[in-house]
Amino acid sequence: MSPVISLTGITKVYGMGETTVHALRGVDLTVERGDYVAIMGASGSGKSTLMNIIGALDNASDGHYELDGISIDSLDESALSIVRNRKIGFIFQSFNLIPRTSALANVELPLLYRGVGRRERTARAKAALSAVGLDGRMDHEPNELSGGQQQRVAVARALVAEPSLLLADEPTGNLDSHSTADVLDLMDQMHAEGRTIVMITHEDDVAARADRIITLVDGLMADDRWNRPRGERRMAATEAGLS
């Protein structure tokens, strides 16, 4: 089975001539199914650029990117929108819910763009919101929800379409410590259920939740270490479920 993410020699160059900025200078990275990876680095290290490329929001200048066995480099805009819809679930630092739109409608949106019928869409969105503990908040609009609740809606929206990859960009950056713990627990739970998670953060304690921590410095991978063996927690969870 192909890895979820396979990056080879990815570079990204902004601007031309003297103002050229090399955001990424050749990144090779493979993320297997079920991995929980944290990407760390100071600002300007290229971690946001890498996240945009992994999320198919931006093209690499050079190198090869395969997502779930699909070569992303050669896809046009409409194919990319399908990839984003089916393969990736985004969680952003600033939540990025659609304003003046209920939590339920927000979560339904990826299914809507996929063409899922109304009844199934609503049922799946409700299930996803229940899974993140927002049963009683489905009809609330984003401005009626706390930051932690908004981020949980965003997690539900990322999960509802059953993507191959959950991509989180500083998911706790705008949250207080209590909500941070909530959201991170939620992500641990997703990981335990077998989802592939790539998370960008600059906080060590947040990164510590991941199995594998990659550190970027000046557009290169400076460090790649495992907190715990691949799949250990997942196995534990499975055993706990069996016993």
Binding site: N52, G55, L57, D58, E77, S78, S81, I82, R84, N85, R86, F90, F92, N96, L97, I98, P99, R100, T101, A105, L109, P110, L112, Y113, R114, G115, R157, A161
Partner: protein
Amino acid sequence: MNLFETLRIGLRGIGANRLRSGLTVLGILIGVAAVIILVAVGSGTTQSVTANLESLGTNTLTVRHGTFGRPGSEARTQFKDLTVADAKALMNVDVAPDVKSASPVVSAQSTCSYEGTTHDTAITGTWPSYFEASNSKVSSGSYFVNDDVLNARRNIVIGQTVVDELFGTVDPIGKQIVCDDTPFTVVGVLESKGSSGFNDADDTAIAPLTTVQNHLTGYGSMDSVLVQSASSEVMDAAQSEVYAVLDQRHSIADSTSRDYQVLNQATLLSAVEETTQLLTVLLGAVAAISLLVGGIGITNIMLVTVTERTREIGIRKAIGASKGAILGQFLVEATVLSVIGGVAGVLLALVVTRFDVMGITPVIIPASVVAAFGVSVAIGLFFGSYPANRAASLRPIEALRHE
């Protein structure tokens, strides 16, 4: 994603910004309503003027005394009166076979009173044939007859406005009214012809020629002779005959120096129709411009909306909205705005045109309703497509970074 879902998302966008949407709708509403109302007023004017002229009879020629400032007329010193004999000559079947009747007309501005109520009106002195020629029918009572003219009886037929002013609700038939010290007996009331703007066709009174001459105008020239042709097809022939007869009687050799003028009702009618149709087109054009301005308003608002919602567009693209979905969303928003404006404009126009505007009863032209509504929908699509395209073409990464 089907059309229904696109519509739902578009509607939600409109509902999210009610004031702005409302103002945009207002722009289209005013444009659509203006087109329909102004065209209706224009065609109402045409119809009312036409009906007014037609009510004077469509197959009549009016022979008027004098030259009415025609260039070169100053040279003429000798003016012959237009006389009863002239009118009689025009009724000679041998020389003027296409003339059905010729009625000499004098008129006098007069103050009439009934039991202390007074009213100023124009009294026309003429022959009974005038009623048919001028398309004047009585709604109650009767016409006066030739015998009344021969005996100069003081019988009078009055218009509806005169009835309203002098009698109110009292039945005027058989009552006596006094006009400039002369008592008249009301024998008939004319059918209402309606008024057009400033000219009230019902503010009139008709009496035997001899009576009016005896008591009001004296025995000078006739003001005009109303000639009725045998049918509207022989108008031109009748006109030539009138010229032939009168030129001979007035000893006129040169047709440029006539001491009378012939007005052809049909020619007048088509000239007036042309003028009022031009008016309708002009009004419509002014209104169309306001519709265009409304359309530009849609572009403007949609551009603002797209800019303001750049981030939202980025989010939608990040979670997998295709270019078509974004395009559809914004096009639907623009089109729904203009359709709402169009429908409201049509409704407003339907209400407004129920009322008279400056004495004109507007006449709605169905084509103008269809066109104005159709154009408003097209405006939504056309003026909405540029902002919608801009939204759809945004790169997700840049849209997401937008604050």
